[in-house]
Structure formats: structure tokens, C-alpha cells
């Protein structure tokens, strides 16, 4: 069993887009202080739970902070033509470019699906299967929505003397087993009820276990009706024998 990388789900630019979208912000006039604060709150949590792949999030955090600092400078930087440079320009350009390619990726994905409706001869023997095992990540919301839930749950959890949490691999394996049992017997469970009254350590490790299982296609994660929790369900057609 391997550790999940955050970037397998979403990257730092996805988080920025999510924040901009959620706050209905005009991308050409980003309130940089507000976005930086919100962004940092996610990065802190991601760091706390020791989720792999946080380095790139920290890089963007640093970039945001430096933009924020430059915004506060009394005399703005000028470009070659003497026009003031908006320090936000760099991040806006990157976001715009990323949005374009995200869209292109979805268009290509659709094209890929359309194409797979056309069968060639000797279909059974073509190595098309080798394309498929790239498992689907079964998260119906962004991973940041899941992190929101985690944050809520952690806030309600009893305080512990030790804040640093370094989940061991074997604990994740154990928590996978814990979720597997619950999902197998009940069909689906709420994350909140799975970790109710447990320690912060238990909550975080269970959370990582859920991500891992969603990544490997074993469970399907979607939003709970209440909205502040998420549902872990058995992925269809998936055998739990393994």
C-alpha cells in the first residue's frame, strides 16, 4: 500500500481556482490578502496531516505572500514603458493558462470516450486494456471539500497535548481495514460518524485512509446530504476480497 499524493487529486492552482470560484471573485481583481489567508489555512491543515505533495502548495503560498507584500509597497514597480506593474499579474496569467489546459484536458477526455465507442477489428486482442487500469479516482467533490470536512471534525475533536501528527503507514493500513469493514457491512458510512469522539490522530489517519481507498478505486466518496460531511460508499463492482 502506498501513500496518496495530494497532487493526484488536485494541485495548488486547483485550490486557488476553487477559492476564487467559491468566493465569486473576479480573477482580474483578486483580493490578494483574503485569498492568501484562505489558501494558507488549507496549506496549514495539509501540512498538519502530513499529506504527501505539500511542497508545491507551499511554493504557491510563498508566491502569494510575496505578492501581498509587493501590493503594500508605497511606489508600485514599473514596467519598461513606465506603466505600473500589478504584482498579481503573474498569478493571474498562470491561472488563466491553467484554466485553458484544464478545459482542453476535459475536451480531450470527451474525445477519448467518443473514440472508444468505435471498435476496430480483433478488438479483444488489442492492447486497449492497458489503457484502462489507470484507476479512476472516486471522489465526487474536490479533495479540498474533504479537507473542509476534516477541518470541521478536527475542531470538534478533543484537544490533545501533542499537535504534531505523523501517521505511520501501518496505521493507515489498519484504518483502511476499519473503513472496509464498516462499508462492507453498512454499504456506506459518513466520515463524521466514523470518527466521532475519536482523537485527532485517529481522525487524521482515517482521513488519509479514505483518500487512499478513493484513489485506488475501492471506495466512492461523495457529499453527504447535510453538506458538512462526506459519504464513503462501496465502489460498485469492487470486490473487497483483496
Amino acid at each position: 500500500m502506498y501513500r496518496v499524493q495530494l497532487q493526484d487529486f488536485e494541485g495548488p492552482l486547483d485550490l486557488l481556482l476553487l477559492l476564487i470560484n467559491r468566493n465569486e471573485i473576479d480573477i482580474f481583481d483578486i483580493p490578494i490578502a483574503q485569498i492568501t489567508n484562505e489558501y494558507l489555512s488549507y496549506v496549514e491543515l495539509i501540512e498538519t496531516i502530513d499529506l504527501d505533495g505539500v511542497a508545491e502548495f507551499i511554493y504557491f503560498a510563498a508566491l502569494l505572500i510575496s505578492i501581498k507584500a509587493r501590493m503594500l509597497l508605497p511606489s508600485p514597480e514599473m514596467d519598461e514603458e513606465g506603466e505600473p506593474i500589478d504584482p498579481r499579474q503573474e498569478i493571474v496569467d498562470r491561472l488563466l493558462e491553467y484554466v485553458q489546459y484544464k478545459d482542453a484536458a476535459e475536451t480531450l477526455d470527451e474525445q477519448f470516450k467518443q473514440r472508444s465507442l468505435l471498435f476496430t477489428r480483433g478488438e479483444a486482442s488489442t492492447p486497449i486494456q492497458s489503457m484502462v487500469p489507470e484507476h479512476e479516482i472516486l471522489v465526487k467533490r474536490t479533495v479540498f471539500d474533504l479537507i473542509d470536512t476534516l477541518r470541521d471534525v478536527l475542531e470538534k475533536a478533543p484537544e490533545e497535548p501533542s499537535i504534531t501528527i505523523a501517521p505511520q503507514k501501518h496505521s493507515i493500513t489498519e484504518q483502511c481495514e476499519y473503513i472496509r469493514d464498516a462499508v462492507f457491512t453498512q454499504g456506506q458510512v459518513n466520515f463524521g460518524s466514523m470518527v466521532m469522539g475519536k482523537t485527532r490522530y485517529f481522525i487524521v489517519v482515517t482521513f488519509l485512509a479514505v483518500l487512499e481507498m478513493a484513489y485506488s478505486g475501492e471506495v466512492f466518496v461523495s457529499s453527504a446530504p447535510a453538506g458538512d460531511d462526506f459519504v464513503i460508499a462501496r465502489a460498485e463492482g469492487q470486490s473487497f476480497a483483496e
Binding site: 497532487q7 493526484d8 489546459y101 471498435f119 489503457m131
Partner: protein
């Protein structure tokens, strides 16, 4: 070589059909011409236009005759496939859903290379904001990308490009057929990163060929 006598002459159209049927990879128009000329014993090759005309006639004739085959022009070559309408029956026969897909990191990386090619890993990483090493390795393994050479810049980084396999898997004749990149402003305007809405939009198939001339790499027609 003209060792065969035929009851009725075999036409270029028939050779095209037979080759598109029998081969397990797209067969180039040139190759169709060569094979035809070689066997018939003609010294001059038929024109590519003649092959393309034969292709259209064949597809028309399949459609009119209610047949389920079509000849596709993919990756610069011709290949026979079934029509979409019979896909459910073939899926039932093979007992599997063929809704293939690549994960988001793979699809994003592939899209960036497709439009920017040849592209270095640093360029790809910059667009995505994350390391694309794993995705690139996986795409090379799947033979959707290939190393194109090395960039003449410091460190001589490797250049990635899409393969013929990519064109074939995505049903594209060549890179010119890649859908135009849409402007980010337009995408943002319709609240586009709302995944559900984007998907709905795509499902309706509205996104292609809107004549946007600004696609950055549309002039690179060949990966070779």
C-alpha cells in the same frame, strides 16, 4: 509481378477497403497506393486524392447500405471501425464497459504536451503547478507520448511530443484536428470551473471547431 488474373478487375477502392479492414493499425494512403500499383503492375502510383475519394465513396456506400462499418482517417492512416450505434452490442459481447479514461493528472499533462509540443517537463510543470514526472513516465509507457529530442537550452532537457498512437486513440487524423484551445476569459465567463456545468456543456458536444485561430501549436502537423 502481374501474376494474377481476376474475374473482374480489383479497383483501388476495393484495395483500400481490404487494407483498412485487414490491418491492425492505420494504413497510410501512400501505402495503399504502393500496394495497389505493385500488384496491378502499374508504374505510376494512384493519386492521394483518388484514395480519399474512394474513402468517401466507401463510407457513403456503407451508410446507404445500412452497414455498421466506417473507414476512419486517423493518425494519417485509414482504419475500419464500427459505428457508434452498435457500441452497446459490442460492449455487451465483450462484457465490459469501454468507457476508458485517464486520470486527471495524466489527461492534463497529455493536453499540455498536445498543444505545446514539443514541450519540456519544466514547461509542463509550470502550467500545472505540480511535478509531472510520474504522469510523463506513465504516458510514455502508454505510448501516448514519446521523447522528441532535446531542447537546445541549458541542461538540454528532453522534449516530449505526442505519438501516432495518441492520434489514433483520440480519433484524430493529425494535430491540426485538435480542438481549438478556448480562451480562459470565455471559460471563466460561464463559471466554468464548476465541474458539473462543464461536464454538462461537454456532453452536449458544443465545444469543437469554433474557429478560434489562436491555438498555439496548430501549425505543427506532424510529430515526426
Amino acid at each position: 509481378m502481374n501474376r494474377n488474373t481476376f474475374d473482374s478487375p480489383v479497383t483501388l477502392q476495393m484495395v483500400l477497403e481490404a487494407l483498412a479492414f485487414a490491418t491492425d493499425a492505420p494504413v497510410s494512403v501512400k501505402e495503399v497506393c504502393r500496394v495497389y500499383a505493385e500488384v496491378v503492375g502499374e508504374t505510376s502510383l494512384p493519386s492521394e486524392a483518388a484514395v480519399e475519394e474512394a474513402l468517401e465513396e466507401l463510407n457513403d456506400s456503407y451508410e446507404i447500405g445500412g452497414h455498421t462499418m466506417r473507414i476512419q482517417y486517423w493518425a494519417g492512416g485509414l482504419r475500419m471501425t464500427t459505428t457508434e450505434s452498435v457500441a452497446p452490442f459490442l460492449e455487451a459481447f465483450f462484457r465490459r464497459e469501454r468507457r476508458r479514461h485517464l486520470t486527471k493528472p495524466l489527461m492534463e499533462t497529455l493536453a499540455i504536451v498536445a498543444y505545446k509540443q514539443p514541450a519540456t517537463k519544466a514547461e509542463i510543470d509550470a502550467v500545472r503547478g505540480v511535478d509531472s514526472g510520474y504522469a510523463l513516465r506513465k504516458l510514455l509507457e502508454l505510448n501516448l507520448l514519446a521523447i522528441f529530442g532535446r531542447a537546445e537550452i541549458i541542461g538540454r532537457p528532453m522534449l516530449y511530443a505526442t505519438t501516432d498512437r495518441f492520434l489514433e486513440e483520440f480519433g484524430l487524423k493529425n494535430l491540426d484536428e485538435l480542438p481549438n484551445l478556448r480562451q480562459a476569459e470565455e471559460l471563466l465567463g460561464d463559471a466554468a470551473f464548476n465541474e458539473e456545468r462543464t461536464r454538462l456543456f461537454m456532453a452536449k458536444g458544443l465545444e469543437m471547431g469554433d474557429g478560434d485561430p489562436s491555438s498555439p501549436s496548430s501549425e505543427s502537423t506532424s510529430t515526426t
